[in-house]
Structure formats: structure tokens, C-alpha cells
């Protein structure tokens, strides 16, 4: 079995975002780039499956659509333990564009399980994974919080509003994963970092795809009213404010 984890290269959530060119583009100066947190967890889970011989998982690859600037993030994924990587050499124009590029690569390379994170922490689209499954005409399972392989059968637990379901799915398929998929992201060890230097990153040139959306502009969140403090000895005042001023209880 071959697993592919699709990874997004995103600004660390704690870096302050700023915009340039009339608020249409992210100002990348000083940004700390990381593997999208969900994708890091997906990769961790994929490697756990590979570590367990009973699953039959033979390789874990990662794929990324982005420019050469994203190579450190790809190398990091390799250092964590992915066997090889694929990079489609293109600026990600929108989710549809990215999913189309990934679908093209997957058709050529063929994987049994394709894992995507529930969202990329930059554009918060929650769309690439399911788009990809539709483009490939693969079944997909969304909101996956656990992924196992038992006697060759993929067993998934997916979250539904108000509970969870245990589902079986045939391969190849796309899993869109969320919290629970792995506990802590695996960290790269020194040996992994050394090995990553020589692991292959296969380069693909993009296919022509017309994006469906366009960012007109970005704006910062509206500043919130400053905090009104209530004396710790008198919480009743808080309840009164919530009732009469905010009118929320």
C-alpha cells in the first residue's frame, strides 16, 4: 500500500500577518513558514501506519503545489520520515487550481490512500481534499478522526454532528482528516534531517487550469471593544452586564 499526504506550506499562526499591493497579497517578509498543522498530523499518522508491518503500508510520500521557496517545508516532511516528495512547480492560485494539479500527479503516480488536512490555516478553505476526490472520482471520507488498517480493510472513524461513525471504505480513496488523527506531530530527529538531504523531490510542471476564485482584498479583523473589568468579589455584576448590556443571557 502507498500513502500520499498532501501538504500545505503556511505561515505559523503566531506570526502577525500583513498585506501588500493594495491589501491583495500577503507580505511574506519575516514570516515563519511551517507545514500546515493538520498535514503534520496526517503525516504522523501515515508514518505510524507504515511502522506497523501488519498494515502493509510500504511507502509514504508527500506532495506540495508551490514554488521552490517551499522546499524547506518539504525537506522538513522528509526529515520527519516521508520516503519521497513531489512538488508541482506553481504558485497556488486557489483551491481548485491546487486540487487539479494534485489530481494530475496522483493519476500518474497512483496511491492507495491520499490524505489531506481538513483545512489549510492560511485560506481556511476546507476544500482541496474533497475537490481532489471528485477530480479523481475516488470515494472520500471527511472529518476523519481515526484511520486504521485491519486485515487489509481500511477502518475509519468520522465525526458527524452529534456523534461519530465507524466506516469502511475501499481503496483508492481520499481521507480528509481532522483532530484525533494523531496525538502529537512527530518531530524530525537528527538522523532524519541528515537522510532528508538525499531523499528525492520529484518535480512536475503544472497543467493549465483556470482558477475559479480571486481574492479581491484582505482586511484585518475589526478591533474589539476593550475589556470591561468586574470585581472578582462581585461576579453578580458580570451576570447583570451580560443580561442587560450585552443581552446574551
Amino acid at each position: 500500500m502507498k500513502i500520499l499526504v498532501c501538504i500545505s506550506n503556511v505561515p505559523d499562526t503566531t506570526t502577525k500577518v500583513k498585506f501588500v499591493e493594495g491589501n491583495t497579497k500577503l507580505d511574506t517578509t519575516g514570516i515563519q513558514w511551517v507545514i500546515n498543522p493538520w498535514d503534520e498530523l496526517s503525516l504522523t499518522r501515515a508514518l505510524e501506519l507504515k511502522d506497523d508491518a501488519s498494515t502493509g503500508v510500504k511507502s509514504v510520500s508527500v506532495a506540495h503545489v508551490g514554488s521552490i521557496a517551499a522546499e524547506p517545508t518539504i525537506r522538513k516532511a522528509l526529515a520527519i520520515g516521508a520516503d519521497d516528495a513531489i512538488r508541482v512547480n506553481a504558485e497556488p492560485a486557489d483551491a481548485y487550481y491546487v486540487a487539479s494539479q494534485l489530481a494530475e500527479v496522483i493519476k500518474k503516480e497512483q496511491f492507495d490512500i491520499v490524505i489531506c488536512g481538513i483545512e489549510s490555516s492560511d485560506f481556511n478553505g476546507s476544500t482541496v481534499g474533497s475537490m481532489l476526490s471528485e477530480l479523481l472520482d475516488y470515494p472520500s471520507v471527511s472529518a476523519v478522526s481515526s484511520l486504521k488498517i485491519e486485515n487489509g480493510q481500511v477502518v475509519i472513524s468520522r465525526e458527524i454532528d452529534g456523534g461519530k461513525e465507524i466506516v469502511h471504505v475501499s481503496t483508492p480513496f481520499v481521507a480528509v482528516v481532522q483532530k484525533g488523527i494523531a496525538k502529537e506531530p512527530r518531530i524530525a530527529a537528527m538522523r532524519g534531517i541528515m537522510m532528508a538531504r538525499t531523499k528525492p523531490i520529484k518535480l512536475y510542471e503544472p497543467i493549465a487550469v483556470e482558477p475559479l476564485t480571486q481574492v479581491v482584498s484582505f482586511e484585518m479583523p475589526k478591533p474589539r471593544a476593550s475589556c470591561k473589568f468586574v470585581d472578582a468579589e462581585n461576579p453578580k455584576q458580570l451576570i447583570e452586564l451580560l443580561q442587560n448590556e450585552a443581552k446574551v443571557i
Binding site: Y96, I166, C227
Partner: protein, 323 residues
């Protein structure tokens, strides 16, 4: 032309989000001078279906097909696409919840329709069609133009209020052919949470962090939540430690919520936590540290020890509610 809204029910009763979606869809339809049509899949009776009419929907397409009992994203996508074509829908609206996140992107590819995901307001304009959505995990917002003829919007839960406009909607029972051989996702077991208010549905959420000190200290927090009809939540370390269940984890890597009121008790207010709760209408923070970042996100605050403040809050709510 029409605006199509995909509703969700739970054991035959519409989820609250269905009425939010219907209200939103009716407003979008108004902007486009057209009507909102709702799609319901499942075993929902006529009187329940008609409730959608109270939120401005003109017509309800009702599909009750055994093959659609379980969610198979591919099968559902085919059905929604078929109805969208039948109703000449220009805009299709789904929730940005688990189900919507699975279906909307598939529909987008199927219909070559641009998608605005996690939208929290009415479109900024309809020509060009531009929506307002969360970006950079709440650190910014984007004005996004949807450039295709058909557009898809997924609406953030709790971000749009219910608007009652009785319209007297008609119900059309419609049958679809589902190709059973195409269903590749088999549900083996369903574990339902019963009797609990869903955190993504709740209007009030009471949340505890590491400042609660121990899993044994949650009783007054739960009592406060019960008195307010609120759901309980927690920060990530609290669920990682196993103090509370994973379903309660809010934040960037947990649940993203937008209640009317969010209590952050013993939560420092790390960026990743705020990322999941910044759309709350009001945030109340209770923290011993006057410099905790959570006070920067809160409108009301108490500087104090949660173990002392919580019991007093419980008493205060009892008193105020008792009146």
C-alpha cells in the same frame, strides 16, 4: 433561477443550522431577485418540512430514499447537483460543518462552480459576486470573488441569525435514482451523543483551560453551563491531558465556533486558541493573570482565581435567573 439551500436533519428533525441556512438563502435570493429552494434528504414529515417556509424558503424539494440513509459524499453530491440543475440554481448554500465541508468541494468540481467557504455574512456584492470570509485562521478576512456562473457558499455555523418570514412554502416530493454500486463508504456503527448540547450549535459556551488546575475542578463550570443552557468546551492541553473529551477542544486545531457568548476560564488566550473562538459575539475571560492575552480578545473580564470566582458566578446566575 433560484438559490438552493442544502438542509440537514437529525432523526427527522431539522438541525438549527438548517433554519440559519434557510434565512441566509432567502436573503441571498432577495439580493438576486429570485426565490430560495430548500433540499431535504431523509425521512422528514410534511409539518417539519414546512417549518423551512417560516424562514423565507418558497419551495422544499423532499427526497426520501433508503440508499441515502448513510452519508456517501459521492452519492449525495450527485443528488444535490441534479436538484441544482433542475432548479436552475445560481447559488448553492451549505453549512460549513463536517457534512458541508465534505460535499461542497465535490459539488464545486462537478458543477464547475466557485466556492466561498466559511462565509459569515451576506455577499458583499452580487455583480461581481464577492463574499467575505475568514482567512489566516481569524487573523484576517478576505473579500473573495466567485468568478463562475454557479456559485457555492458554505456558511459558518451560528454566524447568521434566524429571520422569520412566513412564506407558505410548497413541498415537492421528488425521487432520485441512486446507483448503489457507486456507494463505496459503508457505515458499520454509529455512536450518537445524546442529551448534550452540541458545541457548534450552542449559543453559549463555557470553556476551561489549564488554569482550572485539575479535572476534578470542573463541577462548578459544568453547573454554570447547565444553568445557562450552554455547552462545555476546553483548551487543547486540557483535552490532550485527557481532563476533558476531545469533542470539547476549541481552537485552530479543534472546533471553530461562533457562539453569542464564550466564557474562557483559566485560558491564557494563545493565538491558536483565539483562532477558534474569535467569531464569538462576546467573550468573557476569567484569569488570575491581568496580562493574559485573553483579556485582549474579551469584552468582559474578571481578574481572579477560577476556583473562587466560579461558585460565586453560579450563585449569581441562580439568583438572577430565579427572579
Amino acid at each position: 433561477m433560484s438559490v438552493l439551500v442544502f438542509t440537514e436533519n437529525w432523526d427527522g428533525k431539522f438541525k438549527k443550522l438548517s433554519f440559519e441556512l434557510a434565512s441566509y438563502a432567502s436573503k441571498v435570493a432577495e439580493m438576486l431577485n429570485t426565490n430560495a429552494v430548500a433540499l431535504s434528504i431523509g425521512n422528514v414529515d410534511e409539518s417539519e418540512l414546512k417549518k423551512l417556509g417560516n424562514y423565507g424558503v418558497k419551495k422544499i424539494v423532499n427526497i426520501n430514499n433508503d440508499a441515502l440513509k448513510n452519508l456517501d459524499d459521492r452519492a449525495y453530491t450527485s443528488v444535490i447537483a441534479e436538484i441544482a440543475q433542475k432548479e436552475s440554481s445560481e447559488v448553492i448554500i451549505l453549512s460549513n460543518n463536517n457534512m458541508g465541508k465534505g460535499l461542497a468541494p465535490r459539488l464545486s468540481v462537478r458543477l464547475k462552480a466557485a466556492i466561498g467557504a466559511g462565509v459569515s455574512q451576506l455577499p458583499l456584492s452580487t455583480s461581481p459576486f464577492t463574499v467575505y470570509k475568514r482567512a489566516f485562521s481569524g487573523n484576517a478576512f478576505a473579500h473573495l470573488e466567485l468568478k463562475t456562473g454557479v456559485k457555492i457558499i458554505t456558511l459558518a455555523q451560528n454566524s447568521f441569525e434566524l429571520i422569520e418570514t412566513a412564506n407558505g412554502a410548497s413541498v415537492e416530493n421528488f425521487s432520485v435514482n441512486v446507483d448503489a454500486s457507486n456507494i463505496k463508504v459503508q457505515v458499520k456503527d454509529v455512536q450518537k451523543q445524546t442529551g448534550k448540547i452540541l458545541i457548534t450549535d450552542a449559543e453559549i459556551v463555557v470553556s476551561g483551560g489549564r488554569g482550572m488546575k485539575s479535572p476534578d475542578n470542573w463541577e462548578p463550570l459544568v453547573e454554570l453551563a447547565n444553568l445557562l443552557g450552554a455547552a462545555t468546551a476546553c483548551s487543547r492541553p486540557v483535552s490532550d491531558e485527557g481532563w476533558r473529551s476531545h469533542e470539547e477542544h476549541t481552537g485552530q486545531t479543534g472546533k471553530i465556533i461562533a457562539p453569542n457568548l464564550y466564557f474562557a476560564i483559566g485560558i491564557s488566550g494563545a493565538t491558536q486558541h483565539i483562532a477558534g473562538v474569535s467569531s464569538s459575539k462576546y467573550i468573557v475571560a476569567i484569569n488570575t493573570d491581568k496580562d493574559a492575552p485573553i483579556f485582549g480578545a474579551a469584552q468582559y473580564g474578571i481578574i481572579g482565581d477560577a476556583s473562587k470566582v466560579l461558585p460565586k458566578l453560579v450563585e449569581a446566575v441562580k439568583e438572577v435567573k430565579g427572579k
